[in-house]
Symmetry: D2
Subunit: 366 residues, 4 copies
């Protein structure tokens, strides 16, 4: 499987502006609404018995998160906004040439969005492209409505896929560019960050069993905003929703927090990466053994973060089968029984103090 | 051992103003100086080949940290400032009545400090009391000298001692008051926070093998100051100095970070607890099984934080023998093989998701 | 008037713990409630048609702000908590010896407070002393209830009085200590900051026509909390409630913001001064001509801040007559027609750039 | 003068990526270097007796600020990075068609930059376009080198020009888009913000006597970073460099501070505007009489901010003549003798409290 490389279509790709929205299937809509609205503070643009359409405080399009009641928790659509209506024609031609299943609905797949294209992309992900969308009030100036730690933008997706280089080449054909990646000396690529908008990413390709959604990330303005969300979760006795962090990423240099929603969908709260919009933006490559690559402070990555992710749906709404990663896994080579990580290049393999080795490694050692 | 309770002296205790300074014996003075001065940014008041006298940016007394070169890493003095010169007479009488070894030096034990009393207290700790001290410039307004994340005050000590209730009763005789503690339903006390100045503590008594120094804490003004120290450690490739955090404490409601210095002495960076100065300040008691007691966000406490601590010296400069805790340990009852913790009172014993169970527990389970 | 110095009583003063509460008479209780509760986010402990009892998020006593409906906006009581019940006897004796009018009510003057003493003090202010008070939940850990920019403590009062040295001497007799003041080379004192609790002040004495209340200050934890209040006021189209700031004080080194409530009562939002609890805490004296004394960034003080203040009531509820300051005023000597200020000692009198000279001065010059 | 509209060239404009760098002529290079390097903390990439090339911490191109010693303080070049080398050919054709003076240097005008085009644009500004540029280390991860309040990016320019609509139309031909503007009911436009990169602006057109440089803006990550710069200026007794702020803009929703360098060049420190990169990004139009348009907290704009600006140079290095604005000025219609501003739409013309009316107005009234 994951046979050969995805061929480069002769059709030009659609001009993607940004990662704009995600549709999550949730198994208890009321519970999910409580999490995203009452706890995280997202704004309800529209809702009915089946769906809740939410947006962040600086968003002016109808929504950037759709929660839809369904039987199996999964990601139903990774939606990108394209620059012009004709980019939808391009998307159709681009994916048809790749032999992908393509569906176009002039009235859109969700409320608030017009003419849209959904595809099962070569990696098995349900990608959506749209241009027409209803405008709603941008609540950037409505500080009276904002909770401590307001989420202001959808920043990016993160996808789990077995073969990262294969995924990267396909995404480059789609017009994305790599900003950072994680490799080892043997040339294995463990993850890559790819962007259309001039930040570190609109999506990342993370090596693992896939296709699966690793997480969707929403941005705050400041680091204390991220901490405020942690504090509120503690007060609500929901601290077990915090999976990893808060911390500073090495990759992206951003400040982060990972939460798990009531269905286990992972949500990152993210702030302060850097400008990548120059055509010759330097790519940053991290050594997979560098213990500061995923947390600049060297704090251990919890194993669940490496292994758990959400299913994704095909265009009929059925979960895509998950294919195993063939390459070595980042967890195994860094904190597994035979793995190692260092703080300083040249340090011995076992140079990390016990408090930096992580749960998984310690588990093996005891 | 830890025989009976410490008797209450008939002599009145000295009037302690605050935890004021600590003297640490370090095995490589140059390495320690680099850590505290070049990395953490403390200010050198005075130094020679054997000692470095350091202070925080809002301190006006000569120093609040003494690094002294020596053969074995240890804490040599926990120094409290007393209100008046005659409080030294009181300290002498108070500890003599307790049968403790007491030494008084009219010229002080360290540079910058005058008439001082050092004792081996009933718990085996080297406590010091002083009033006379040289004044130096309070650098509060010198933002031009301050690094990102300036340390402004010494906030508190934390001591490891086998029998917490015994320690608390003695410290109450010394005039301290409990502000918070950790107990279980059976009445075992695992730790207690005690104050003279109107914050959560000047020192805490943590149950464990002792007498040992658990940590000394310095305060910053804001949470981003704590994060700035983490970021700098990452840039200097010293992230392995970060042992635990950053995070929000349940106890004290303060924001924290724990570092380990080149000798393994633990240093907390701490900010934003609350006013406790009213005579009827309510004591907050935490259930040892509450997973938010030590980290409000429920993040696991690394085992080293529970088990490792610094030796303390007697008045001859020899390490005090360490006596084992008789009561159950907090680590065992919370994340040990038979321990449990909960996020919500009433949750099942195994209700914590895997990412919240901590390294130690996972180790046992694998 | 302001005849001679206030004599020192032979009776010992009550042991004041801290500035604890203030009672403000407001002319439109609903409007004031909206301001303090809906806008500033204070917590209602109790209310009826005539009074609203409010507290900050870290307060555990019944209230620290009472809003009382009345015909004339004024301050009715500056309330200090004393250490022990017998301190009320001391307060009675102390003020009786000064010839002041004294009223004691074993059941208290307001809800939630027991045995209390109110006096018309030698400066004409309605001071209150109490010990017994109902405890309520300290909401420090209730981040789920806190708005952006939560007010956590009542920090201090600020009183306008014609003769600052006279006021200081009386307050020293009451057990307060000066931490900072503003003087000129001729020895005139323009303002003094005085403390019981170990911060820069529990109250300040500001030279001007008095007795009047200059402001009451509530504390936040961080500077962004203060900014969040400004942002919210903007969103509510209430930015005209912002009188001065935000900015950094020279005196106290704290970060500040001054608001005006619906009656014009001035409220400061304040954070991050420094420890002053040592018995030999160094007093900081500022030159009245130093343009950074009141704003470390040299931003002009708006004239209303110098000239406007709230009436205070006598024990019958009638406004105290306001006596004129005899000494030169700080506004006149700094930004008045003949005044001057400098950024750097030794600079010419007219060295301030136009944007630093302030409204008042510019007014005269045009 | 400012005769008719600038015609739209038939040549396509260059594809501008972003405002990338500015060259300032300074009259005392050592003094300017102290301000930008020692005080603001910019990084020196290269320097000689005549020029200092500086960059912010997240910049990877050679410099984004050139200080050049010269006889008259002025702005010598507003430099934009273009997407591809052939965009320089486009720039030449575009401006030649407009009849502008154009100069192209294959080796660049400054160190570190290759093939460049400089023009005297139709508004009289010295615009530069370049693509080839030397890469240097992006210091984003070098927290060990960063001072409190690190400047991370050049964010935008702000230009003073007599006829804003004329300038806007020309800039739209150059490929820029308006994101926000300030107008009055009669249709006069007082200022417009225009972007290429997806933030609120790469440059703004501010109505006034021009062509002049109003300011260049550098970005920080958080608001406390801006405050840290103020605090440091206070400590260095350079608070008179602070002209306006800190504050929250209405336009852009960003947090701001305006400084004046040793020559009076205005520098803004700026953080946290919003995403504008969608093709249908909603334009925000502010009423010139809305007192929250320039400061969301309603704080007065100091008159110097409206009236003072830097000369700009022609391609021979001589100052461009300054032409007077014909339309009414924003200062006159808002805080001038006949002007007015409101906090709430519908408020009376004189509804602002005295502390919000500003220096200029007060000056007239006294």
């Amino acid at each position: 499987m994951n046979a050969g490389p995805v061929p480069t279509p002769s059709s030009p790709p659609p001009d993607v502006v940004r990662a704009a929205s995600i549709e999550l299937v949730v198994t208890d809509l009321a519970a999910s609404r409580r999490f995203y609205v009452d706890v995280l503070g997202l704004v309800v643009t529209q809702e009915d018995d089946r769906c809740v359409y939410l947006r962040t405080f600086e968003e002016f399009i109808h929504h950037n998160l759709v929660l839809r009641q369904g039987p199996v928790a999964a990601a139903a659509a990774f939606s990108y906004r394209v620059r012009a209506p004709h980019d939808l024609d391009r998307a159709v031609a681009f994916y048809r040439e790749l032999g992908c299943r393509v569906e176009r609905r002039p009235d859109g797949f969700t409320a608030g969005v017009g003419d849209s294209v959904r595809v099962e992309d070569p990696l098995g992900f349900p990608y959506e492209f749209f241009h027409d969308v209803a405008h709603v009030e941008r609540l950037a100036w409505r500080y009276d409505l904002q909770p401590p730690g307001p989420l202001v933008r959808l920043d990016h997706f993160n996808q789990v896929t077995p073969d990262v280089p294969r995924a990267v080449r396909y995404m480059e054909d789609l017009g994305f560019r790599v900003t950072e990646d994680i490799q080892d000396a043997a040339g294995t690529t463990y993850a890559a960050w790819m962007r259309r908008k001039p930040t570190v990413h609109d999506t990342a390709m993370t090596g693992g069993d896939g296709p699966r959604l690793h997480h969707v990330a929403f941005a705050t303005h400041e680091k204390h905003d991220v901490l405020a969300i942690c504090d509120r979760l503690g007060s609500l006795r929901l601290s077990d929703r915090i999976e990893r962090g808060p911390g500073r990423h090495g990759v992206s240099n951003a400040f982060y927090l990972y939460l798990r929603d009531p269905d286990g969908h992972r949500v990152e709260i993210y702030t302060q990466d850097y400008w990548t919009g120059d055509p010759d933006n330097p790519v940053v490559t991290w050594d997979v053994h560098d213990n500061q690559r995923r947390d600049w402070w060297g704090n251990p990555v919890v194993p669940s973060w490496y292994t758990e992710a959400s299913l994704v749906l095909d265009l009929d709404g059925n979960p895509q089968p998950v294919l195993a990663r063939a390459d070595t896994s980042e967890m195994e080579v860094t904190i597994g029984a035979d793995g190692f990580s260092y703080t300083r290049p040249g340090d011995d393999a076992d140079a990390l103090p016990t408090w930096k080795q992580g749960e998984y490694k310690l588990g093996h050692q005891l």
